[in-house]
């Protein structure tokens, strides 16, 4: 029974949950974390992007069996870092979303990029974001918002603001037991 963390809450997976169940559907159907979206199921569109130990991952192709015990999964609902907030603020400021369906994934990819590179070039943005499809083609604003967030973060740092880490945020919630049947999902 693998045990890992989602947004700092411990998740214990019941043995009855099939081990090929993608993380995406554990999040959506078992944990009711619906901010992470299903778009393609084969890691072609990025709508399901989450962070696994801080790195962006397409949750639709991560089966339960591949999730190591103790890893930390962060979804859009648990995005509370300074970088994440700066990205969301920039997304709002520039009114990036149109239909909005892909934007959780875009925000997660952009946050992972800025956590790695404080001042990404256009080529960096292309490399980090090309896996995230937006059919509304909000790409002009996604690029601009990443730069906006990067600028805001540099400014905040210059002003002595401290990078907010996940550990600073919500206290660890009690674990959840995920059964195979979401209609009977149990909070432990």
């Amino acid at each position: 029974m693998p045990t890992f963390f989602v947004n700092q809450a411990r998740v214990d997976i019941a043995a009855s949950v099939p081990s090929d169940t993608p993380l995406l559907w554990i999040l959506r159907d078992n944990l009711n974390l619906t901010g992470t979206k299903y778009g393609c199921g084969i890691a072609q569109c990025g709508a399901c992007t989450v962070h696994i130990d801080g790195k962006p991952a397409r949750s639709c192709v991560v089966p339960l069996s591949a999730i190591k015990t103790g890893v930390e999964v962060t979804t859009i609902e648990g995005l509370r870092t300074g970088v994440g907030k700066a990205v969301q603020t920039a997304w709002e400021k520039l009114d990036v979303p149109q239909c909005g369906y892909c934007q959780s994934g875009q925000v997660m990819s952009a946050t992972a990029l800025l956590a790695q590179k404080k001042n990404p070039t256009d080529a960096d943005i292309d490399a980090a974001m090309a896996g995230n499809v937006c059919r509304c083609a909000t790409y002009v604003r996604i690029r601009a918002a990443i730069k906006e967030a990067a600028g805001a973060l540099v400014k905040a740092e210059g002003g002595g603001a401290r990078e907010l880490h996940q550990a600073d945020c919500d206290a660890v919630a009690p674990g959840r037991l995920v059964s195979g049947d979401n209609s009977r999902a149990v909070l432990a």
Partner: protein, 735 residues
């Protein structure tokens, strides 16, 4: 302002001081009164706009079907149009807020319930629906009237309560200056209220932030995919491999006992597996043994379809337009030109694959989805489940893209969900909610594509290089034939959606004909963002460009000379050319690169868009679109930033089709399944885009679609400028 604080304030107003004085003092102090105070407890008279999500606080004032003012001073605008990204949940509230003089921070939005009387599209008669870039255009007066009427009622109430002339009451930024009362709801509902002059607009034409950006940036926006209900089951359906193919038999036992699987039921277009969660349903659907009747279904291939289209194009079709004598004019012309164009089927491929949630009870059916044709879906669901339309409630959620796909007169996946709920009821599961989820593959293979088309164009130039004749023949499936739209949109055998953009060619050409063949193919087809213009803009704007070059004229100047009677086209074209620096040479590329610049201008849905595209072609013929300068004439730009966003997005959406996308059939089977074989535009291919808006006081026209059709011809013309090659088969591929 909190009404709990406001009421005591009124109650304790010292009697020695006249209320008027008190209120004036309050106003002078910058206080004033929130809108909320003017209706007090007069809730009973509300014409409550039905069941909606996120309803305002109980109590409040609802002067009409479009507006509710809550006791918390929230101004909730009931939006009758689907928000699918195009900005209706921002644009329509802007109209109300402006006329009401509400503060933008007070504004909340609710999707309207399906209702063909109160929430119909005023351009469509008694049907609620979103499409044809009409949301703003048909609502502009209606929503302003709604806001203005409420404002008049509030002012009347205030004037009465304070015994002051109504003219002395002011409402500004959500605050009523002067007077109070509890009887705004008792005010007569005014008829035709005077709306503001443009000079008094506080939001219209200014920057107003989208109402949905925050929820969409933090994952809390609710799409159909996200609906959770007690006991909710998930259905995934095995669809036939060919359109129209029937189930011969299926073996429920092949999935019995698989984890989570509850029911296997036959539906009109396949077999549904119903399970406790998506993954269980999907795995069981994949494992389910279904035998399809091989004697049924459409067995065509794309190559055969195009061969038949080409054969048809050698014969005259039904005339859609005939001015002068184009055939004779071209025959007698000094120089003759002809070209033929091929367009593939296109999938909408919205990010949220099609889905629908239905709960069927004995006397009531509730639907959760994000659909463009609310009342048509309502009627279709009612028919499937054996209820009356008014017994079907539709909860309008955000749509994760649509581009026309969720505007299906056949209500395909909606009635599929209803059929599953109905089947569940027959096995004792009445009242159990079910969510139909299509996988990406289901979505891509399900049809209702932009039809494939074949065009031929002929033109003649006289000795002075004037265009003397133009013949345009279009071959392709009718979208509206066989649908309820046929009566309205097919006239004299011409489906208006097949020839729009061709029959209204704006150029002054004395002899012009357009004719049409509408063969039956059997592939389900549908409108796709900008509809007929998706192909007519390409053939007409690349062909006219070819004529300009042949005439030795500058492509902008050539067009301008033919657009004298079309000032809106001219304004857009001139603005785009000016902002693009058309009169200056294009910067050269690297030594082994070729660069080119192309222009196109096109009207769709009463909006004119001109675009200048710059491309760089490498030695292998691969190219990149570097920059696009876009000008749009859409009348009053109610929200200029949303207009810009729609142009940016429209360009990106159009580029997907221009560069890559095609749906093909082989022996009736769709050959594409997902984004790996149906590529769409990604961020690394998105050009830099500048959008400019032609200043205008005309009534607004739509912006959701008109940005789309212009980019492909602008790019093709740029490629021709760079390489001399004219590409006439889409997608463009390499040059």
């Amino acid at each position: 302002m909190n009404p709990m604080r406001m009421r005591p304030l009124n109650d304790v107003a010292p009697s020695a001081v006249s209320r008027r004085v008190f209120l004036q003092s309050a106003a002078a102090a910058g206080a004033g009164f929130s809108l909320a105070i003017f209706f007090g407890d007069a809730v009973a008279q509300m014409s409550a706009p039905g069941r909606t999500q996120g309803a305002a606080a109980p109590g409040g004032f609802a002067p009409n079907a479009f507006l509710k003012i809550g006791v918390d001073s929230s101004v909730t605008v009931v939006v009758k149009h689907l928000e699918m990204g195009q900005g209706t949940y921002t644009g329509l509230p802007t109209l109300v807020a402006d006329e009401l003089d509400a503060a933008w921070s007070q504004v909340r939005v609710e999707g309207a319930p399906a209702d063909n009387q109160r929430y119909n599209n005023l351009f469509w008669g008694p049907a609620q629906g979103t499409g044809g870039s009409t949301a703003m255009a048909n609502s502009f007066d209606q929503y302003r009237q709604a806001g203005a009427a409420a404002r008049a009622m509030l002012m009347g109430a205030a004037a009465q309560a304070w015994s002051v002339p109504a003219a002395s009451i002011q409402i500004k930024n959500g605050v009523v200056f002067h007077g109070s009362g509890r009887n705004a709801a008792k005010q007569p509902v005014p008829g035709n209220v005077k709306v503001k002059d443009a000079a008094d607009f506080v939001y219209i034409g200014k920057h107003v932030p989208r109402t949905d950006s925050k929820a969409k940036a933090n994952g809390t926006a609710t799409f159909t995919q996200d609906v959770k209900l007690p006991g909710l089951l998930t259905a995934v359906v095995a669809h036939p491999p060919r359109f129209g193919q029937k189930v011969k038999r299926f073996d429920s036992a092949s999935v019995q006992g698989l984890p989570g699987v509850r029911y296997v039921v036959e539906v009109p277009n396949g077999v549904a597996v119903v399970a406790t969660n998506f993954w269980s349903a999907k795995k069981a659907r994949d494992a389910l043994k279904v035998e399809w009747d091989e004697t049924t279904g459409v067995k065509v291939s794309s190559a055969e379809i195009m061969t038949e289209f080409k054969r048809l194009a050698t014969t005259p079709g039904t005339s859609a337009k005939n001015e002068g004598d184009a055939g004779r004019a071209i025959e007698g012309a000094a120089r003759k030109f002809e070209a033929a164009f091929e367009f593939p089927f296109l999938a909408h491929a919205a990010m949220e694959p099609m889905n629908c949630v239905v709960r069927l009870d004995a006397e009531r059916c509730e639907v959760w989805n994000g659909q463009q044709f609310q009342t048509a879906d309502q009627a279709a669901v009612a028919k499937v489940v054996g209820l009356k339309p008014e017994q079907v409630t539709i909860n309008m959620l955000f749509a994760g893209g649509s581009f026309g796909r969720r505007a299906n007169p056949a209500s395909d996946f909606v009635i599929e969900a209803a059929a599953i709920a109905h089947a569940l009821a027959t096995v004792g599961q009445r009242g159990v909610p079910v969510k139909l989820v299509w996988t990406r593959e289901d979505d891509m293979k399900a049809g209702y594509y932009r039809p494939a088309y074949y065009h031929t164009l002929k033109a003649g130039l006289d000795a002075d290089s004037n265009v003397v004749g133009w013949q345009h023949r279009i071959v392709g499936q009718s979208i509206v034939s066989g649908t309820p739209f046929e009566a309205m949109m097919v006239k004299d055998g011409i489906d208006a959606t097949s020839v729009e953009g061709a029959v209204n060619l704006p150029y002054a050409i004395p002899n012009l004909s357009v004719d049409l063949h509408s063969p039956k193919v059997g592939v389900p087809v549908l409108w796709w963002r900008s509809v007929g213009s998706t192909h007519t803009a390409y053939s007409t704007e690349t062909f006219v460009d070819e004529l300009a070059v042949a005439a030795g004229k500058d492509p902008v100047a050539f067009r301008k000379a033919l657009l004298a009677k079309h000032p809106r086209h001219l304004a857009a074209l001139e603005l785009a050319a000016d902002k693009a620096g058309w009169d200056k040479p294009l910067a050269a590329g690297k030594p082994d690169e070729k660069r080119g610049r192309g222009v196109a201008v096109h009207e769709s849905f009463n909006t004119m868009v001109a675009q200048v595209a710059e491309v760089t072609v490498d030695r292998n013929g691969k190219f990149k679109v570097d920059r696009v300068v876009c000008a749009v004439h859409c009348g009053i730009a109610v929200n200029p930033d949303v207009v810009r966003a729609q142009m940016e997005g429209g360009i990106g959406f159009g580029l997907s089709a221009a560069l890559y996308s095609a749906i093909t059939l082989s022996d009736g089977r769709i050959e594409q399944s997902n984004f790996h074989d149906y590529p769409v535009l990604r961020i690394n291919e998105m050009p830099a885009i500048e959008v400019h808006i032609v200043p205008s006081t005309d009534k607004p026209s739509g912006v959701g679609e008109p940005g789309v059709p212009v980019i492909a011809p602008a790019v093709a013309n740029a490629l021709a400028a760079a390489t001399g090659k004219r590409i006439r088969t889409l997608p463009l591929g390499t040059v």
